[in-house]
Symmetry: C2
Subunit: 256 residues, 2 copies
């Protein structure tokens, strides 16, 4: 019960939010109770559900700066089994002010403790950086999914990210494990994509998910309609690939 | 002489590094002496020139933590008029440790003062966040270019970014001006792109560059070869669009 999975990468625009939203929706579609937490000040998760700034009562910001209990920060979606906590964080300043106190790194882990077993999966969408907000997520998490965009800069940025997560794991969260590396925006028609896929599968061996997420314009369009792809265009390649990813993760669990 | 232009956006993956590298190379191609500074711990600028971690003597890290003079951090490229300073920053930790001192926000501005008039243009590539490193860049800069990817999350994230830059401008750098907003990864075949272009041009009126950067696979491929597009595939749509952007900026100057 209640596995916390962080979706993280320092590289920007690799599909962290798209994965967080669509994988959560896929788990809910398959009958698993899922909570998605947005640790990114950009607040793209709320955008994905058509929530504007004034629609949000409490979010991560209130959890961190006003100690509002986590239960009061949970918002519904149109899917019964899928809830989310928006970031509502308006700047990295919160990052500094509220997280500079003692044991600041454990703030999220402690805040989530009361509800951890109310959900089957709790996903955390991370910002594209290695600051306090990502640290909090990696310390609260049981496991980590790292999206890798099939392009050169994302490939080269991976080494540093892995180095940082390894040292964080040793210092703060020895039980953190890699759930898997997810190849995103895959376009098998071009050589760059193929080259990156081969390199990643060779270097990371069995840690890379079999499921790959294709570049699919529907995934970029659905946030405009305020719903995950699995809700408004279930047969699109994007929605189908995230359902396949959810099934692959569930099968990993079944085998354990 | 010596205009410092920051290339910044909190949204990840919108083309900050691609713009920084290819616009700098275009200025150099047109005969202007250009320096590119990488303030992003990911170090994608060095990657763009095939520099590995061990090829770098000094970078922004050494400038900030060891007070190495800026002249000793400058690295050449294959273009005579184009130099760069790699980030060499290995984590956001430097962000905290070295930038917590007094007047930390002005560290970059002060470090660049000795060389500001040796170049026609100094561009600064920023990380996808609003932390110390981006603050330093926006305070050192005379002007700001904001790349906007033609997709929904990037559009929605813009409002918050503009709010933050406005309050930074008032508090720290009243002379900072918008050089322009740059539409990137434009694909006029799809509705999403068209919708974003119309919305951005309507909301930001005359501040949006006429030049738009098309989605062009060559731009994603060239970092693998360690050269900007203008050096190895000058006739590609990507290289041509960045040359057009450089000319548009130069014409703005001529009209002033
Ligand atoms: N498989 C895909 N096919 C096509 N477009 C995609 C795909 N995945 C994501 N996108 C689009 O690419 C852009 C970047 O994705 P997204 O915002 O999810 O990345 P991110 O890693 O969360 O970015 P950030 O680093 O800013 O948090 C978005 O506009 C999104 O809609
Ligand atoms: N016009 C374009 N057409 C196609 N691909 C592009 C274009 N511009 C950038 N790219 C590719 O898209 C990805 C994101 O671009 P880039 O890394 O320059 O963005 P960024 O804003 O610097 O990202 P970060 O937020 O991580 O710093 C890269 O793989 C890059 O090669
Ligand atoms: Mg995101
Ligand atoms: Mg970049």
């Amino acid at each position: 019960m209640g596995e916390i999975i962080a979706i993280a990468s320092q590289k920007g625009g690799v599909g962290k939010t798209t994965t967080s939203v669509n994988l959560s929706a896929s788990f809910a579609q398959l009958g698993y109770k899922t909570l998605l937490i947005d640790m990114d000040p950009q607040g793209s998760v709320a955008t994905s559900f058509g929530y504007g700034r004034y629609d949000i009562r409490n979010g991560v910001l209130e959890m961190f700066t006003k100690d509002v209990p986590v239960q009061e920060c949970i918002h519904p979606t149109e899917m019964d089994l899928f809830h989310f906590i928006p970031s509502n964080v308006w700047s990295d300043e919160v990052d500094k002010r509220s997280l500079m106190g003692a044991a600041a790194e454990f703030k999220l882990k402690n805040a989530l403790a009361p509800i951890k077993n109310l959900y089957d999966y709790i996903l955390i969408d991370c910002p594209p950086s290695l600051g306090n907000l990502t640290f909090n997520a990696l310390i609260a998490a049981d496991s980590l999914i790292v999206p890798i965009q099939c392009e050169y800069y994302a490939l080269k940025a991976l080494g540093r990210f892995l180095k940082m997560t390894r040292s964080l794991k040793t210092e703060y969260n020895p039980d953190l494990r890699y759930r898997g590396f997810l190849l995103t925006m895959v376009d098998t028609r071009n050589n760059l994509s193929k080259r990156v896929i081969n390199k990643v599968r060779y270097t990371l061996q069995g840690l890379v998910f079999d499921t790959m997420i294709p570049r699919n314009i529907r995934l970029a369009e659905v946030p405009y309609y305020g719903k995950p792809a699995v809700m408004i265009d279930k047969n699109s390649k994007g929605a189908q690939s995230y359902l396949a990813l959810a099934r692959e993760i569930l099968e990993q669990d079944a085998r354990q």
